[in-house]
Assembly symmetry: C2
Homo-oligomer: 288 residues x 2
């Protein structure tokens, strides 16, 4: 155990996938969690979680969260608010609820708004493995060295926030507190925009003559489009839930691309070189 | 030696970088090349090539190509035509000249146009390591398994084309003959467009708040922007020399991106999902 992990006697994981399941493995291993209930829609996935020992009991009924002192919301982001609403009547006063979604800000406000006032909600976002690959993909040590963003709501109990931070630190996470809107602006740029761009690039290059073009594609194409292999449903939801910030970054990207288009169309080598050089230097951090 | 390598008694490599230097290593190793002259602008780079034994003699004077039966044009693409023009008066009748540039089509026509009629020119493009990293970066085996595109000019001597193909096969290349315009259309899509996109993405994400954003960037951003670390000069030149085809692909990309922008702006999840799904499926070859 790296640090003293906060004790929870009874934990519910709602959505026992890569993120929730991996957290269960490590918190069981560090001895900080008592009994673990898994809640989900898919009985097959819950069966895998039970067989692998990630959870002690499985249920498709949100009532299984009754009596828990910690609830992990680890469903796809679009299901977080509806799920929190369904869980609400069953949650014990003082229960700590965290989510692990890729969007915070307004989404976390909505989650908190549907939870009872006596429940302590803290938004979190561990930056680790974005694919929701199910209980079969859960593994020990997923969070070692991973950044874990903590977004405490206004007026959050500092002791509760500290417990949540300790929970992530105890599994190896590098904890960083952020404002929700700031989180969404930063991740719109460094994560959400690159996914939109990768989808657009893969579609453009392969919309005609795909088999042949794939045969000529080298490492450059493979790397730039790798994340276009991600779940379309998940990224639709993330983009919609962080729409304003993603549109803002997309606007900037389209403007930058239009400038390159004009430079190329006009055969303006100096302008093109300036664009490419600024990008290369920014990437390599030459000007800091 | 994998296949019988064609013999050349005296070879000149113009631009002894990763591409030309690696070819020299393998052709010296397979015993098919006699004396090798290195021609270049940088004495320091030529000295490295001499020290490493890539070449037998070094010169900053194109006259060193006199008497060669094979000349490899391995300069940056923008220098190919001017260099061919300067070499022209020194080339022996029957000499085979190949280039190794990333753009073929009109560029190869121009190269051929400035060479004497008695010289045999064949365009080639080995798909291996795009950075012009100098003689120090040359290494054995660079071309093993690499695709090598062969673009014979109209009316090329079939025996000469066959010799050039054997040259690349003998160092492990997988040879494929293509029409120059077809080559440029395919590589505009699978290589040149991804570079433009990577530069635009890196610049957009890092134009503000770069140090902090870089700290939050995960594998997705790193992969999508890796090739934005490539030489801005080289990619300016490739884009300008293949301008029509790159603009064509860029148009398609901007149209695709605009459709995603509209879907996101309108909160049209179905349209966004259709775009992302088509991209993911195209990437994975699900519909073939």
């Amino acid at each position: 155990m790296r640090v003293n992990a906060p004790r929870f006697a009874r934990v519910a994981i709602v959505g026992v996938g890569l993120i929730g399941g991996s957290l269960a493995i490590d918190c069981r291993a560090n001895g900080s969690w008592g009994r673990i209930a898994g809640i989900g829609r898919s009985q097959a996935n819950l069966d895998v979680a039970l067989e692998r020992g990630l959870i002690d009991e499985a249920s498709r009924d949100v009532a299984a969260a009754a009596g828990c002192d910690l609830v992990i919301l680890a469903t796809p982001v679009a299901a977080l608010v509806p799920m929190a609403r369904r869980l609400a009547p069953h949650l014990a006063p003082g229960c700590i609820v965290i989510d692990v979604g890729s969007v915070k800000g307004a989404l976390c406000d909505e989650i908190q708004a549907v939870l009872p006032a006596a429940v302590q909600f803290v938004g979190t976002h561990p930056i680790a493995g974005s694919e929701q690959a199910g209980a079969a993909a859960a593994r020990a040590g997923l969070y070692v060295g991973a950044q874990c963003i903590i977004v405490p709501p206004h007026g959050a109990d500092p002791a509760v926030v500290a417990r949540v931070e300790q929970l992530w630190r105890a599994v190896g996470g590098v904890v960083q507190r952020m404002d929700g809107a700031d989180h969404d602006a930063v991740f719109a740029a460094v994560s959400h925009l690159p996914h939109v761009v990768a989808y657009a690039l893969a579609a453009t290059v392969l919309e005609r003559d795909a088999a042949r073009r794939r045969g000529f594609a080298g490492a450059g194409f493979r790397d730039t489009t790798r994340i276009a292999g991600s779940s379309p449903e998940m990224w639709r939801d993330i983009c919609l839930l962080n729409r304003t910030a993603v549109l803002h970054e997309l606007d900037h990207f389209q403007t930058r691309l239009a400038a390159m288009h004009i430079a190329l169309r006009d055969g303006d080598g100096a302008a093109l070189l300036a664009e490419f050089t600024a990008a290369r230097d920014a990437l390599e951090g030459d000007h800091e």
